[in-house]
Symmetry: C2
Subunit: 387 residues, 2 copies
């Protein structure tokens, strides 16, 4: 499992002392080749952390040797000094590994607006480099955890090649450590353009459809490294299929581990004219605090689903507002925008997974967006985090 | 105070038995003229309650005799039967008052997806009509309360004429009874077009800038009735000014009474290229659950402000993401998108009002949007409401 499952990768996870808890907080992933292809997808927030500014440049030429990741500090909103810290981090990794700093991706996660303790971080890099191992993937996955309760790893096997991965983050429901970081590896032979296209195709239907609390991070980063060590040339479609499977598994794991959540909620919109319309309607429902609080209360409150659906503009999603159906865990609680089956038939208390299906009766397209319920613990953890 | 403060209006508030609590739940406001001008502004939700469908038609010709309002049931998502209930309500008011049903505005608030107990409602109308009085405004304001802790009324006096008003709703922070209803009255002489323009101008800068939890109701209605009883002809600008003052006072009262809230938060964006850009940025901040939970925890977490600002697309609001300033209660905690003054200088625990100012350094426009913090009580009340 994890990023060292495919051939051609070494990794390590160590305690650099960035976290007050003393838990591991620095991970290093190295691509030993023979190829050193990289692709990256980053937050679309205009306010981005220094490591995102840096790493966007690193992946631009499709080549990278290593990824260094730290928890314990996001290095966001830290100005030119923070960017210098990221630069220095990459330079140090490059020196230790004998590569170019411009081929070192940097990821950070933690509180915004605080400088990183660079002495400890640089010493941690030395430590991690000394511990790099072909079975170091699990340790790396552990070192990027923040409030995650479990390390999240994946391994998708294909005929003679595979995709491995690790991720941290509990959707945006984690107590303020909202960032989602993910490193994927593959030993398939592919080009930078194909890797980028495959990664983009995968994230659009996986991580982009997880929306715990509607808040967008300054640090979100998903990186794919391919080594070509299997010697097997794959098509872009084959790579996209495996990478999508890996991202889907990790995205589902993020939702399942969302701190403070008591339910994982899949909002599926069917009968849409286009997939984009289905996503827009599903996202409106997953962003309704009223609906999400109702789910926490095990209340199949379909009225709140409908009132969220109704906020989507007509130019975004065509539907007749008088012809909407809603099913919750299979019970059609709303028919033609009116009362359907008895809502007491829906048992939400008994299951962590809640399936909401909205039928727009406007076409054949569909999409699912995952979210969590809005709970006391969400408020507690996000109100108590930085103070 | 309230809707009977201007000349030419009678009102009543009675207990029809729609609420299980036995509290007053039916209000009637009658315009005795000599003029009977009406203007209305309604929710932009595509899923709208039967009374909204009805009342949009009533106000279309600029003339109405009365407004009947009930709490204890929203009559939303109730299908053709629900619309028939609204029609029957208007017919009954019309019969009792000797006017046309097409001149009776209907407003409802309460749980979605439940039919109204029509026998009780119609009997309540008889009762209210019998109690109509020139000092009945406060009773009417009390009868439209749902989870409001206080009746919300206003009276803006001008030279020889005035604007009165009542509103219910606790922003969208009320436990599920999210609807905002507002009736304004004036004894000024004006035309339907001027009344509509004045009301629209007023709501855009008041009720439209209160956003407790980002959820849009199916029932929101703001109605302005003018009687002309003062005999004083006012300009559209004079009317708009007074109506805006009335709406601003009522909107502020909604935020102050938001159930579950411990802080009223004014997010002011300055230095914007346009007022629309300032509103868009302010709204992004007021919709950040992470920021609102931080305020509940008395944490001046400016990083969450910046990460919300950064989600606004460039085509909506121009700014340099590296040049943002944030002040919280006067302390400049963020300068040029980096660390500013010591955040511990901000004392949020000591005041209900929190003032957040974001400077985009992109122009001279500004706007303020009000919201509340995200609290345990919000989650509790919205998870426990309908079950």
């Amino acid at each position: 499992m994890s990023v060292t499952a495919p051939l051609g990768f070494r990794a390590a996870g160590v305690t650099a002392g960035l976290k007050s808890s003393g838990a591991p907080d620095l991970a290093l992933v190295v691509n030993d080749g023979p190829e050193r292809v990289v692709a990256g997808v980053f937050t679309t927030n205009r306010v981005v952390a220094a490591p995102v500014v840096w790493s966007r440049q690193v992946v631009a030429d499709g080549r990278a040797d290593a990824v260094v990741l730290n928890s314990g500090g996001a290095n966001a909103c830290t100005g030119p000094d923070g960017f210098a810290d990221t630069h220095r981090t990459a330079e140090h990794v490059a020196d230790v590994l004998g590569v170019s700093a411009g081929d070192v991706v940097v990821c950070s996660t933690g509180l915004i607006g605080e400088r990183l303790p660079m002495d400890r971080l640089l010493a941690g890099i030395d430590d991690a480099a000394a511990q790099l191992a072909a079975d170091g993937g699990p340790a790396a996955a552990t070192a990027i955890m923040t409030t995650d309760s479990v390390a999240k790893t994946v391994h998708i096997e294909r005929d003679g090649w595979s995709v491995g991965g690790m991720a941290k983050g509990a959707g945006m429901l984690a107590p303020g450590l909202a960032t989602m970081l993910c490193v994927l590896t593959s030993d398939a032979v592919t080009s930078p353009d194909e890797a980028h296209a495959a990664l983009r195709a995968a994230t659009v239907v996986t991580f982009d459809r997880v929306d715990s609390d509607g808040c967008m991070s300054t640090n979100d980063t998903v990186v794919l490294l391919t080594s070509g060590a299997s010697g097997i040339r794959v098509s872009e479609a084959e790579l996209a299929d495996a990478v999508t499977a890996a991202c889907a598994a990790l995205a589902r794991a993020l939702v399942a581990d969302a701190e403070g959540a008591t339910h994982d909620v899949a909002v599926t919109v069917v009968g849409a004219q286009t997939e984009a319309a289905a996503v827009a309607v599903a996202r409106a429902v997953t962003r309704s605090n009223l609906f999400k609080a109702a789910v926490f209360g095990n209340d199949p409150n379909w009225g709140r689903v409908l009132s969220a659906v109704g906020t989507v503009p007509e130019e975004v999603a065509a539907f007749d507002a008088a012809q909407l159906d809603v099913r919750i865990n299979g019970v059609q609680v709303c028919r033609a925008s009116g009362v359907g089956e008895d809502r007491t038939l829906v048992d939400l208390a008994g299951s962590r997974e809640v399936h909401v299906e909205v039928d727009l009766h406007a076409g054949d397209a569909r999409a699912t967006v995952w979210t969590n319920d809005l709970t006391h613990d969400y408020v507690h953890e996000n109100s108590a985090y930085s103070t």
